[in-house]
Amino acid sequence: MVFKAEVRVELKRGILDAEANTVQNSLQLLGFKGIGEVKTAKIFVIDVSAPTKEKAQEEVEEACKRLLANPVINNYSITIK
């Protein structure tokens, strides 16, 4: 079966999100008065073929550990559909 996994990778709290700061500043410069704090995250939508949902979850979990997220700076979450 093919599952759709959605991986969301974010920066841990306490790590400067330089890109988000740039976005926030730019929006404020452009005159968006209501804009406050900005954060960014990255999404990977992955097709996984696996016998069960659990197996798909495991496979993606492993992919996160080995490539998609860096435990020093990132948190990640996985949703399987």
Binding site: G14, I15, A18, R66, N70, P71, V72
Partner: protein, 268 residues
């Protein structure tokens, strides 16, 4: 060993782009350095192109944007190296052979957990959130096989060009991590002013906002070293931005390559 016997392996993959000038630095010193694609070492290429890591004494990962720096800088390179070459690399390091990472190579070694090795660290997006290119000054703080011939305290002028050069530790444990790094004498270079004062986070002296102005570090053994600035871009005096006002006998970068060779000659 004799100079003629030295073999340096410059590993690259798609997107690595500083291998030519890195190789040239060794060639100028009459040392054999070979540009080798990662897959030539992992057995994923055909007969004639295949190489063995253990045939070399030095492994250099040059600068560039390996695999486009997608996901995170150096992540794909590091992950492929760890999964297909981990044992060979570990043995290589355990034998006292030397591994150096320049810029993207530093990012690869850090991402692979080889640097600092004892502490968790990462190189992340510059504080400006932009690519930063130009020249910088670094102060040398610890001798390693890559800096044998550089006196402690000496200030060198290198070029840099990177988007992710800010060294960070796990939030909450960062003070402890920095302390450990200092106590173990693992900081090799720190960004400074032309006069040699530490940058104290000030731009453009510290171009990327890196913690404690750290520009280069080594592992506990000192034989795995990584740094953000590019010595291979300043091989000749005229490569320096200020060569009209500053007479140098050679480019500041050459001393790094001379050190490597001298070290290998003595050690093996």
């Amino acid at each position: 060993m004799k100079k003629e016997e030295i073999k340096v392996c410059i590993v690259r993959m798609e997107g690595t782009n500083c291998e030519d000038e890195t190789e040239r630095a060794f060639r100028r010193l009459n040392v054999f350095a070979e540009k080798v694609h990662l897959k030539q070492l992992t057995g994923d290429s055909s007969g004639e192109r295949r190489r063995k890591l253990s045939d070399y004494q030095a492994l250099i990962i040059p600068g560039g944007f390996s695999a486009g720096d997608y996901i995170r800088s150096g992540a794909v390179f590091a992950s492929l190296m760890q999964s297909k070459l981990e044992k060979e690399v570990r043995e290589f390091a355990n034998e006292g052979k030397i591994i150096g990472g320049i810029c993207n190579g530093f990012q690869v070694l850090t991402s692979a957990g080889l640097l600092p090795g004892n502490i968790e660290a990462a190189l992340t997006t510059n504080a400006s959130s932009k690519f930063e290119g130009g020249f910088n000054y670094v102060k040398h703080l610890r001798k390693t096989p890559f800096t044998e011939n550089v006196e402690i305290g000496k200030v060198l002028n290198f070029a840099h060009g990177h988007g992710e050069g800010r060294l960070l530790f796990v939030p909450g444990k960062d003070k402890q991590a920095l302390k450990e790094l200092q106590e173990n004498n693992q900081i090799v270079f720190r960004f400074c002013t032309p006069a040699g004062e530490f940058a104290n986070g000030k731009y453009p002296f510290n171009p990327n906002g890196t913690t404690f102005d750290i520009a280069g570090i080594c592992n506990l053994g000192g034989n795995v070293v990584g740094w953000m600035p590019h010595p291979e871009r300043v091989q000749d005096p005229f490569n320096h931005y200020d060569f009209h006002r500053n007479n140098r006998a050679s480019g500041d970068g050459m001393v790094i390559f001379e050190s490597i060779i001298e070290y290998l000659q003595k050690k093996f």
